[in-house]
């Protein structure tokens, strides 16, 4: 069985200008949304208290709001979480009240009228911890991108390195943009997912770059655009199949993994699609725009023949 039977080379690069325009628009759109809506930062980043409780029957959110109002939690956000029996309550950080006991106070308020309420989780995060985390998360992403840049530049060529890092940044920005537009809560697990998107997209980009390098060395004649088209065509089947299997399991995770992992699955699902697109269009287009040529990719002159071949597995 074969997904796509391609007898001719697909002229991917013909669409590179429209693709660049599309990506630029999407990136700008993401920035605008991030600027206007910002991200719906989760508790991990903002600090505050989050309480998830389970009721035996469908919970009456209005009644819960009244109960909390009476106990001086006017600012509480009450919403269903996962099912109609499960309720999520969020309370912003506040001064003057012992923050660590808010969870117990809320639970007591809900139980005051004798309803049986099952505590599922309580999370309290101080405001400082959240701030540090934002810094740390951003730093982690920057360091990761830098190290990748250096590695790819060493193994391949600086134009490829810039190309793949642009593709990664493209994917990260669009994923953040999506979360900003849809206002999906951005918590620690989503951050982990965004970092996984980096890993996935990188994987894809390297595979494509590797083939481009190989073809530059193998095919003596031909313009860079042609060689890139040939390489993309050759790797297209692999690119689609791997994306497909990954999407398959992510769909399973999205539907079966539970409410806590929803954001994680959403980020990755989107990231895999965008990552696949970016490894085809962004990485190679950037390398091309930077003027990649055959000379850049010829193996360095070695004295002994075969010395630069990779060893057998």
């Amino acid at each position: 069985m074969q997904l796509l039977k391609l007898s001719d080379t697909v002229n991917f690069m013909r669409l590179r200008i429209p693709a660049m325009v599309l990506s630029t628009v999407l990136i700008l759109g993401s920035f605008v949304s991030l600027g206007v809506n910002s991200l719906n930062w989760g508790l991990d980043f903002t600090g505050g208290t989050l309480i998830e409780v389970g009721y035996e029957d469908a919970a009456n959110l209005e009644a819960i709001r009244v109960q909390l109002n009476e106990s001086n939690f006017e600012d509480a956000i009450v919403q269903n979480f996962g099912s109609s029996q499960d309720v999520l309550i969020r309370i912003a950080p506040r001064d003057g009240v012992k923050a660590v006991t808010i969870g117990e106070q809320v639970l007591a308020a809900l139980r005051a009228d004798g309803t049986s309420v099952d505590m599922r989780r309580i999370e309290f995060v101080g405001p400082n911890v959240g701030e540090e985390l934002t810094e740390q998360g951003g730093l982690a992403m920057l360091v990761a991108l830098l190290c990748i840049l250096v590695y790819v530049a060493m193994r391949f060529e600086w134009r490829f390195a810039l190309g793949s890092v642009s593709a990664l940044m493209h994917d990260v920005i669009l994923t953040l943009g999506l979360f900003s537009v849809l206002q999906i809560e951005f918590d620690l697990t989503v951050l982990a997912a965004v970092l996984a998107v980096i890993g996935y997209s990188l994987n894809d980009t390297i595979v494509v770059s590797d083939r481009i390098r190989e073809n530059f060395r193998k095919i003596r004649k031909g313009e860079p655009v042609e060689i890139i088209n040939i390489s993309l065509t050759q790797t297209l089947n692999r690119t689609i199949i791997t994306s497909l299997t990954t999407v398959l399991v992510l769909v399973a995770l999205f539907y079966k993994g539970g409410a806590l992992i929803h954001g994680f699955a959403t980020a990755l699902l989107f990231g895999v699609v965008v990552g696949t697109y970016s490894s085809v269009y962004i990485a190679s287009s950037v390398a091309l725009a930077l003027g990649i040529s055959k000379e850049d990719l010829m193996p360095p002159q070695v004295e002994k023949e075969g010395a630069d071949l990779d060893p057998m597995p």
Partner: protein, 614 residues
Amino acid sequence: MLNKNSIWKVLSALIVVAVCALYALPNIYGEDHAVQILAGRDAVVTENTVEQVNAVLAEKNIPVKRVEFENEQILVRVSDSDTQLIARESLEQALGDEYFVAMNLAPDTPEWLEGLGGAPMKLGLDLRGGVHFLMEVDMTEVIAKSLEDAESGFRTSLREEGIRYRGVKQVDDHVDITFRDEDALDKAEFFLRNQSRDLTFNQIDDLTLRAVFAESKLQEIRDNAVKQNITIIRNRVNQLGVAEPLVQKQGADRIVVQLPGIQDTARAKEILNATATLEFRMVDQKNDIRDALNGRVPPGSQVIEDQQGIPQLLEKRIMLTGSHIIDANSGVDEYGLPNVNISLDSEGGNKMSRSTRGNIGKPMATVFIEYKSTGERNKEGKLVFEKHEQVISVATIRAQLGSKFQITGLDSPKEARDLALLLRAGALIAPIQIVEERTVGPSLGKENIELGMQAIMYGLAAVLVFMLIYYKAFGVVANIALVTNLVMIVGIMSMIPGATLTLPGMAGIVLTVGMAVDANVLIFERIREELRDGRSPQQAIHQGYDSAFSTILDANITTFIAGLILFAVGTGPIKGFSITLMIGIATSMFTAILVTRVIVNAVWGGRRVEKLAI
């Protein structure tokens, strides 16, 4: 002939897979409900204790699966949670305060496997329920306290040296010493510089010398504060009777505490958060308390109220602090009044005997110090702590005190018990505050595991079916590799002592299942290309594996770098995720390149093949 397996390749692949599978095995045996018995400070768990435990269990007719005695602790395995509760209560009653009795889940790993070091994966709190605290040590307070010590040190040494000074005062992060003339200042500066290397001295005006801690000393003070608090928190956690607690340093001034299975967070917090210490000081008899109350407090003294609100004039100099206390028990004295019996470490005993020797017949006060949060925050957003000091007893020193003595003058037996508990657990030398708290209910933990497992199963099934249809015989090979990969991840996660499976970690495994086929897809697509180019099946296999190798290597190494950075920078869920990601990358490379090659060579290699089912 191409594609023949060398015996070494087959053997090494087999051994690695077998070892991983062996260590993955404990995960399918499940867990027993268990009661764990640990020794307290004064007690030791011995064979006698085991007999005692057996006797209690027999007497109460509690059905037991097994009683194990190992590593100075006893583990009683029972069949269900009801029995576990009864067993815990009876044992707690029978054994008394000397022992900590905790409920636990013990892996039901067969003994031969346990003997090989086999144990199931450790589950994070999000998968089994429990409390996670992140605490911060208040360093400003620690440093201020050390400066106070330095302040009284200056007084003593300058007096002994005969250098006249006008005043010594501790403000914020420095101590200012003022002199009457520059000559005295010069002399003092020369003397003090030689005497203490931990401080740096700067002349800020003609008559004032300012002392601040040197950077190395500050570092030492901070490190010691965190270290000491960790020891103390560990003691306190033991009082809660928690099985497998975790108390660990995180960053420069934070401590992580994880208490699996704990639901009563209020009680846990009360015990962890209690910041109390004792100080022993002499009552100032040279000065008049009335003068002090009128605002003329002598510089070396301080007014502190007692429990009845009566002010006492005490010397500022601390004879001894609570950090030297190694044990404290409540009891009653010969008049039937509540008291606390205190034992000190040898250094504390020496200090105590030195400072009481010359003071027989004079009154000594015991000051109880507690740091309470005011609920307010300072400019940096940190909680403000208020120091509450109270004289809990004033007693005349009747004889030179040693390493054992009593505190009397307590209001009730309950107060004596609470004080003893706090002192026994050790006094935190610095206030700590909880900056993060996460509690996961046991039902949610169970649900998380079930949902995670389901997601893995469905995802795996979908990928297996797809690969089978798409690559036929080679799909079977890839599927064997995929399942082997999963077994290896579980095996390695179980083998690494520090690895904990968390919810994001499970998500990481699911992701690995999807991505792990990538290497095989790369190889198989190459083989197809080679076949299309008209190569023979044997050559196509050889060439396919060969040319895909460097691509796979590059692609995975870069992802691995990303994982490594996540591990280094991240905490909590990000760390959990990065561990599974890195292990997944390593195992998927191993299975996709080596394991499948061994199988492919065994099936197709070394013989004439007309057509490949790919």
